[in-house]
Symmetry: C2
């Protein structure tokens, strides 16, 4: 258990290091607290023994360890009010009813990347609440038709289908069948239903049913697929912990790798501190996230009728935790409204 003063010192060191990115010496701390540098140094030694602080070398100031950041996030961090200007900018996006949800997400995360200098990630999936509303077909020429699928939540997906000799009549017949049989089916059940209920039927009525079946199958797969977007990648370059080209390359390649992004999506907080700060915003510091030991990932899930997914912010471990948590919380609430 830490004493009040030790917590105070740890907090100051973390905040100072976040601000200036330089190891924090005892002098700076003792200016703020009312005690001498020697006293602070003694406390520092203890915090270091507890594994909360580290030294970069024998005689330099202290830097928070991963455990130190964790302690700060769980116990010491204060969530300040959001900057009014920032809220205003975000609000204008959320109030713009012209935009689709995915645009709102992208735009607001662009803004957040700007405001924070970190990188944002959205993983968006059409919610299971989406049910098939309507399927229609527009013939383009003798060989090609376009299949358009609409869900009851307003998603539209379309695909060119080459007929390869199937007559337009047969296509229309198939569409009519599908419309009759699976309208109202939740999108994540469509594939199965198509396979086991529709396929046998159209096989009877339609000659070249394979071609058509595949085409429709593709459209439905597309509509329930995930959508990944990474915003503000260049911000990586702004942080001095990444001022090494090798490091930058490595992080960039990770941010481009869909597997890693899936991994972020699947991260789950083990040590679920149910402190006052726990607003379903999860923080993964360094090795806690499987992405890169030098970054922190802060993420949250959202869910509406139309979509569900994850938004995450990636930055250096020396991150403005409080600001990011606040922003994510704000966005989550706005989206879910």
């Amino acid at each position: 258990m830490l004493t009040k003063r030790q917590e105070e010192i740890l907090k100051l060191i973390v905040m100072e290091y976040i601000k200036l990115a330089k190891p924090v010496g005892s002098k700076l701390i003792c200016d703020r607290l009312n005690c001498s540098s020697a006293t602070v140094r003694n406390e520092m030694v203890e915090l270091e023994e507890l594994g909360l602080l580290e030294k970069t070398h024998t005689s330099s100031g202290r830097v928070p360890s991963e455990k130190g950041y964790r302690y700060y996030v769980d116990n010491l961090m204060e969530l300040k009010e959001l900057n009014g200007e920032d809220v205003f900018k975000l609000q204008t996006i959320f109030n713009n009813s012209q935009l689709e949800l995915s645009d709102v997400l992208n735009k607001s995360l662009e803004l957040i990347s700007d405001m924070t200098s970190y990188t944002s990630i959205v993983l968006d999936t059409k919610s299971h609440e989406n049910k098939l509303k309507e399927i229609s077909v527009v013939p383009i020429n003798n060989d090609v038709v376009i299949v358009i699928v609409v869900t009851d939540q307003g998603y539209v997906e379309h695909k060119d289908v080459e007929l390869h000799g199937v007559s337009l009549e047969e296509v229309k017949k198939t569409v009519k069948l599908i419309n009759e049989l699976i309208i109202g089916t939740p999108i994540d059940e469509v594939s199965a239903k198509l396979e086991f209920e529709i396929k046998p039927i159209i096989a009877k009525y339609v000659k070249q049913h394979e071609v058509l079946y595949n085409a429709f199958y593709d459209v439905f797969t597309d509509i329930s697929s995930k959508n990944i977007n990474v915003v503000g990648k260049n911000n990586i370059l702004k942080h001095q912990e990444f001022n090494d080209l090798g490091k930058v390359k490595s992080i960039f390649s990770k941010l481009d790798d869909e597997n890693i992004l899936e991994k972020i999506d699947e991260l789950e907080e083990k040590n679920n501190q149910s402190g006052e700060n726990s607003k379903d915003i999860e923080v993964y510091i360094g090795n806690e996230n499987g992405v890169d030991p030098d970054v922190t990932v802060i993420k949250t899930n959202y869910k509406t009728n139309k979509d569900e997914g994850t938004i995450a912010i990636v930055g250096p471990k020396r991150m403005e935790y409080s600001k990011v948590v606040n922003l994510l919380d704000y966005i989550k609430k706005q989206i879910e409204r």
Copy 2:
């Protein structure tokens, strides 16, 4: 006018520098030609006086100047056959009839970025050949309908429209009117036609015509809008001329700036050499492109019934000119097929 030998030397220096990125000394050249280093040095002095070569400092080998690269590209460069493996990979993309043109473009440029380690850019616009084929409306609930527009070349665009009290009946009436009056109109004339022919008419028949008019106007604007995609940005990091973080930042920000990409689109070759290499592939070296004095932009335009646009490759001035020109030429031909 350069002598045969001077051309030979210039060509060797350019090729060697492209390969190794180190200033080329006289020794290396005289190994390949049958003459002494002193002779080569004398020639080098002359090439330098002509502005085709430069020195990085008083006593280092030579580096091609911008003018030197230009001379190489215009007069000396040999276009070798494309690597069979590369062609094969590209071909599998072009042969995949499942893909839409924009996907084909993106995928093939991804491949090219991989193969070359440069950055690719596509600027794609729906061709003026697109004519309106069909407009339909799907009601989602009492307040929202989705407007779907299809062109005769198979483009689909859609948009949510909030009704704000307009009755579904009126929407349908409007759609019917539009369908009757402007089907077959080229997309770039739709806006005007909507304004001057449709608006007056629906104003008579429909009460809240402003809302509807704006909604349709938006959809049509979207369908004729440009589409920019930058692929393989990270490749910038691979080239040692950009191993400086400041430089990287600067180039990244330029590649993110739509204005600059438009500028690339609008670049036009002044000194249109109609040499044998002129295949409508344009090369802009350093200051010739308005983007960045340290890069070269190689670009070409394409045009099909469905789309038209520009593809460009951006890399260091020390670029594999021959390879890139060949690849662009190949892609252009494939697309236009």
